[in-house]
């Protein structure tokens, strides 16, 4: 572990690509997520309204002060249109501190999963239909997450899954298009393992547990939403330190 090769964090950063990405994004990204199909004012009081009304961190927020929520979803499959959320785990990160006290978890009841139930996905996440019987409705589960997410940026490993499923759930539940600011530890890890312009990291290296191993982070129980969220949070802290980004701001890490 001590002999692990570390590159100079700043070395060969893909500046051109960073610039390109920044151009494609409006710098004054709408705050408060008010770009849903319904305006915030028309939303009923509840978690969704709480989330939408809470001010999102500004894009110039330094990472040392950035509030994030590491999120992991366990799902029945990979397609947000067809597959369903089974469980959600989250843990807040304030700058470079993980707040374990804010960690949360919700298991979606089997009834909300439709006819298919958990099906074969149980072999991955270990949540059986029995266990899901004690769960809550999808609306309650997503509501719990949105409450925790208010004023925070989504942090996830391979965040497209989390964002896609969350947005699909919000459309289905409340007919709103959820606006999310996302930091993806898998994308960050691309910079860690392949700082050069032409370097193409092996997909294997980008997987959550391999990425963690690079930093000597401890083994956690995998495929449990809460522990996967914690795993992503810890990985994020390691990446920020490794890449020397403590003084950078949100723009340098968001997807």
């Amino acid at each position: 572990m001590m002999a692990r090769p570390f590159g100079d964090p700043g070395r060969g950063r893909d500046k051109a690509r960073d610039r390109g990405r920044d151009r494609g994004r409006s710098s004054g990204r709408a705050r408060g997520g008010g770009r849903g199909r319904r305006s915030a004012g028309t939303l009923p009081a509840g978690p969704l309204q709480t989330y939408v009304l809470a001010p999102q961190p500004a894009s110039r927020t330094p990472l040392a002060a950035l509030p994030l929520l590491a999120v992991d979803l366990e799902t029945t499959g990979l397609d947000p249109r067809r597959d369903r959320i089974i469980s959600i785990g989250w843990v807040p990160v304030d700058g470079t501190v993980i707040r374990l006290g804010g960690a949360g978890q919700a298991v979606v009841s089997g009834e909300d999963l439709g006819e298919g139930g958990v099906g074969q996905s149980a072999t991955v996440h270990g949540l059986t239909d029995d266990r899901l019987r004690d769960g809550v409705s999808l609306e309650t589960a997503v509501g719990m997450l949105l409450e925790a997410l208010a004023g925070r940026v989504v942090l996830a490993h391979h965040a497209a899954i989390e964002a896609g499923f969350l947005q699909a759930a919000c459309r289905r539940l409340w007919d709103v298009r959820l606006d999310l600011t996302v930091v993806d530890t898998m994308r960050l890890h691309r910079r860690v393992v392949a700082p050069g312009f032409d370097d193409e990291p092996r997909g294997e290296d980008l997987r959550l547990w391999n990425a963690r191993a690079r930093f000597g982070l401890p083994v956690l129980r995998a495929h449990d939403a809460l522990h996967d969220a914690l795993a992503a949070a810890e990985l994020y802290l390691a990446q920020i330190a490794e890449l020397g980004l403590e003084r950078a701001d949100l723009r340098s890490v968001r997807s």
Binding site: I98, G216, H227, L230, E234, L237, A238
Partner: protein, 636 residues
Amino acid sequence: MNVELTGIRDFLAAHHPFDLLPSAVLDALPGRLTSRYFRRGTVILSAGRPTEAVYILRSGAVDITDANGVLADRCGEGGAFGISSARDDGPSRFTMTALEDSLALLMTPEDFRGLLSAHPTFARFFDEQSAERLRAAVEALRVPGTGHEVLRTPLRGIVTRAPVSVDEDTAIRTAARLMTERRVSALLVTQPGGDARAAEETSGVLSGIVTDRDMRRLVVGEGMPVESPVSSIMTPHPITIDPDAPAVEAMLTMMQRGFHHLPVVEHGRPIGMVTSGDIMRLQQANPVAIVGAIVACQDLDGLIAARSRLPGVVRELVRQDATAAEIGRIVTAVGDAVTRTLLRLAEAELGPAPVPYAWVALGSQGRLELGLSSDQDNALVLADGPDPEAGLDPAADAWFAELADRVTAGLAACGHPLCPGDMMASNPAWRLTRSQWRQVFARWIDEPDSAAVLHADTFFDMRAITGGDLVDPMLAAVHRATAGNQLFLARLAREAVSWVPPIGFFRGFVLDRAGQGSRGLDLKAGGIAPIVQIARVHALAAGLPEVNTAARLSAAAATGTISRRRADDLRGAYELIGHLRHRHHSEQTERGEAADNVIDPATLATIDQHSLRDAFRIIKEAEQELAFTYRLHAVS
């Protein structure tokens, strides 16, 4: 909300001392923590600053250095730091630097103090009043035992096998086959169980005993049909013994009645059988019996055979609850008996000694702390001739040279290797008349800087094995001369502090003060030797006659040359290290290996590692005090 941070909870539960917290407290703990990551090289906490948290390392490694930049400890996974600053709400005495990329759990000082006040066993781990903690560790090391006097062991602890029994109706043939099959020479016969409820009370109750001898006499000799019930040849209502009776009682009963078997019966039902073989084996492990056998030996081979039972005795003593001090005394008693017997055998062949003499033990044997593998250190003190200045005449010296050669060679044959430093009576330098010894001691005491003094310390642990009346007055004079002799004591102290104990353990390695790790922990160099020397300085400073280390510390505390607290700490540390050493030796001899003092830290339980770390710190502090008292410099 059902939040199960089981990963964090299980991590805490797997590491001492958090494993001491009640389950419900552990469940709630993760929710009160935060987590931070430190890149290697990061200073997590600086000396002189208050800590914001107690840090518990989840991964990586952190170096803990004192205000002078000297490594004080190294913390790995599961280790905690920032403790004293958090507890006392004061500045940190140490600087904590990430040696590797590290992930830590942080507990607020308030929460930590809350745990300390609510959970005394948890708090004790962080208590720097170490004597009590070490005592607890030593207690925990010992398997709950039954008293170490072997023959007082209750039979319950000896009878381990279930009894072999049949009921009264069983045919003799079946019973005989069972005896052959189970390889027993006696069978218990019990009342049969029946359908009737009344039978329940008597079912399984002992009714008789059948032995090999009954089979031979009644079946083979008198032609009793083998189809007859076993009850027809059994001895009914046999003499039995209670499981709580001591082994010695079973032995006496069997001896007096000429039995070889004694059923052990509780509430009418047999729970086992004790045989004369069991008692014999017990006696084999009885140090008194070994000493008895040794003094009765008529030749070296017999002596070697008798002495070879000692490792088994030590194993048994370790398994039971003997203290390291007790084991040291027993091994020494056997060593002394071997020495006396060798002297007797040699004298029988060489004829009477030309002048009265004393055979003296030095070093560990002198201190009553002999180990199974200890080198021998000994010397001869000879009575002065008519002219003390003349020394011994050559013919007499030749006699003693021959005596010394025989005894030292005999000791080596019995398991105590020759001293590599040649501190033995066979060396003419250590075969002197009493007047010559007085001069030698005077030179050691008065000219402490001469080269001759080097390694002479062990002579101050002199104890007469024979001829005490010749030696004791001489030693009394020595002790009068050392008391308060600053120059001499400073030299001894310098020697003592030159033994540097390790810091502790890190990832299965012993961590020394240079931050280097090694695979073997030398219990002698890292613990026993420095404590022996520290105790020696304190005892000689007060002119005390004691030679045993624990006795020296107690006596020195009584005179005030060392604080009671420090004496207790050192005795606890000595007992702990001594116990680990005896355990190590007995494991080695059981495997048929030669006993040494080097243990692989990976074989030590975490709790032993923590206790040893305490012991090392106690030694270091005692050395620092010596260095201060005797104004030794260049001591870190």
